[in-house]
Amino acid sequence: METHVHDVLVIGGGGAGLRAAIAVAETDPALRVAMVSKVYPMRSHTVSAEGGAAAVIKPDDSLDAHAYDTISGGEWLCDQDAVELFVREAPEEMLRLEHWGCPWNREPDGHVAVRAFGGMKIRRTWFAADKTGFHLLHALFQTSLKYASIARYDEWFVTRLLVGEGRCLGVVALELASGEMHALLAKAVILATGGGGRVFPFTTNANIKTGDGMALAYRAGVPLKDMEFVQYHPTGLPFTGILITEAARSEGGWLLNKDGYRYLQDYDLGRPEPTPVLRAMELGPRDRLSQAFVKEMEKGRTIETAHGHVVHLDVRHLGEPVIEAKIPFVRELCLTYEHLDPVHELIPVRPVVHYMMGGVHTDLTGATPLPGLYAAGETACVSINGANRLGSNSLTEILVFGARAGRAAAAYAARAPAPTGPTRAQALDEERRVLSKVRGDGGGGERVATIRTAMQRALEAGAGIYRDEVGLRRAAEGIEGLKARAQGVTLDDRSHTFNTEVVAFLELENMLDVAEAIVHAALVRRESRGAHQRTDFPARDDNRFLAHSLAYRSPNGPPRVDLLPVTITRWPPGERVYGR
């Protein structure tokens, strides 16, 4: 087994990972930084983000307004010190990205343009047509190529964190092309592995979003925070789950039920106006819109299709020029995946799992409770997203906190001693575990796909948009059973070269850990807040639950879930008001 030594390791080549690596390189060019990613960086899921990234830049806007929208949108579960710092550093990060070549849409005078977004009272979402994430990721990746000190391990899959002397000392990774396991040692490790929407059956998330980083940290004893908060986006295409960006609504699209009625007006989201009104109706927050869909379905006012119930998204009245200029990708996706042209036809949409508000517990610098381990991006939970993330905050979050984690890790690595300790034994242990799976030792004939599907069904049934004790208990039992069954998986593929089946197996194990944390955190939170709606506890309970949940893994049996009070600075909890 080969060992490679670096100062800082960044796990993940998405927006957060790239930003972190660049931050390390800029902070101290002498530090040897390496980025490990299971796919080539430009394939990372950030590439799929469409709508835009929020940051205060226009004179009619203010940092406090952005902070208030974020905090009320997150139903007061955001840590307000984190939000304040986030909105303050956001414009600078976005400008930096502009300097690195991101092709932001512009005003006629050459300044960047902004668009409206759900839950935002003022227009502040920067956008590059409706391929913002794509442009952001490619600009970051291409810029990262100019830093000679950033080494890359592309298509290496991290399977375990190395921990010793009470700190994180590196990782073990599987090199996909060769099938060889490697030990990568470093003084600091940054997890930037993205979300885990694939634990659900119907999601906008790419195949690679399997919550790996969350599971890595969880197994190393680091708690996962607020995992019960899973965001459903109200407008996914049926069958594929491909996202139709919120920008379609912020440019003026309407949501219609089967009678062609703008049903959101029945759910305390304001009055229907012909042109978009900020923080109202179709521009309400995602949790409320997805919940309204379920209620509408219960009233029998949605449209039944072969792929579940849908409502319609109507952008026809915008006209072809606006659609082509502002949301061309929406048109491209509809034409390719639904055989319909939104210029003339209604788009069928339904709520779809989109984003995990929760993640690895970190402080404001991205540091986790385990010294030497940092986390940033969707895999982390600082938390600025609280109980419901506002659209276009997370692309900004990956930049702000990616950079912060990079700087903090660089500072830590500059003073930390070189990694020593029990790493070799741990790494060899891990090599044995993974390679014995490839050899097919001790399998019980189970297939990865069977267990994965069962897990996804269990979560959808028990931990969907609306939850209750009985359903959650059943899901918890289901996941526990599946964890045991997963050990009986036998792989068809016994080869070392690019074995995608062993990767799928390792991802399944990760997802099962993430699923466990989601379900148990949801069981503990006996209230309804943001994206977590309990039909048996329909009210918000600030007395008991103005607090984050922290799930700690236990070696056998369910996780321990603690509560950690939310930091409130200037915005005491209040009512969430939209359209009034």
Partner: protein
């Protein structure tokens, strides 16, 4: 078992390109045809030079050259050359919009316009030559 494989050292497979790769696709064939017809372009330039030399060498040499031109096989050859030249010219002109992007304000001048411009220029040049010859 593949004897060339050593554990953890992937053995990449490199396909060799078949000699007749240009039969794989109509587009490749058209490309090769365009490239090959450039031989005829070269030939016709040489022909023109030879003709000029004949003109310079006096009426007798020109008459000999013209007589050669009227030989049946030579005429047949030159019909083929003409067709090849036309093919080359047309395919070449159709590529022009790729290289030349003209912007008028925010709008890009459409490819057809660029193409028509080229055809126009071709016609004008031919017209000029005909006019010169008539003098």
């Amino acid at each position: 078992m593949n004897p060339a494989y050593r554990r953890h050292h992937p053995k990449w497979y490199r396909a060799r390109m078949p000699i007749f790769w240009w039969f794989r696709k109509a587009a490749y064939f058209r490309f090769i045809a365009r490239e090959l017809t450039s031989v005829f372009v070269a030939y016709s330039s040489v022909l023109l030079l030879v003709q000029l030399r004949a003109v310079a060498a006096g009426p007798e040499a020109l008459a000999r050259f013209t007589a050669w031109l009227h030989l049946r096989p030579v005429v047949a050859l030159h019909v083929v050359v003409l067709l090849a030249l036309l093919f080359h010219t047309v395919t070449w002109l159709h590529l022009a919009p790729r290289a030349i992007v003209i912007r008028l304000g925010r709008r890009r001048v459409p490819d057809v316009a660029v193409l028509l411009g080229h055809y126009g220029a071709w016609l004008a040049a031919s017209g000029l030559v005909v006019w010169l010859l008539r003098l």
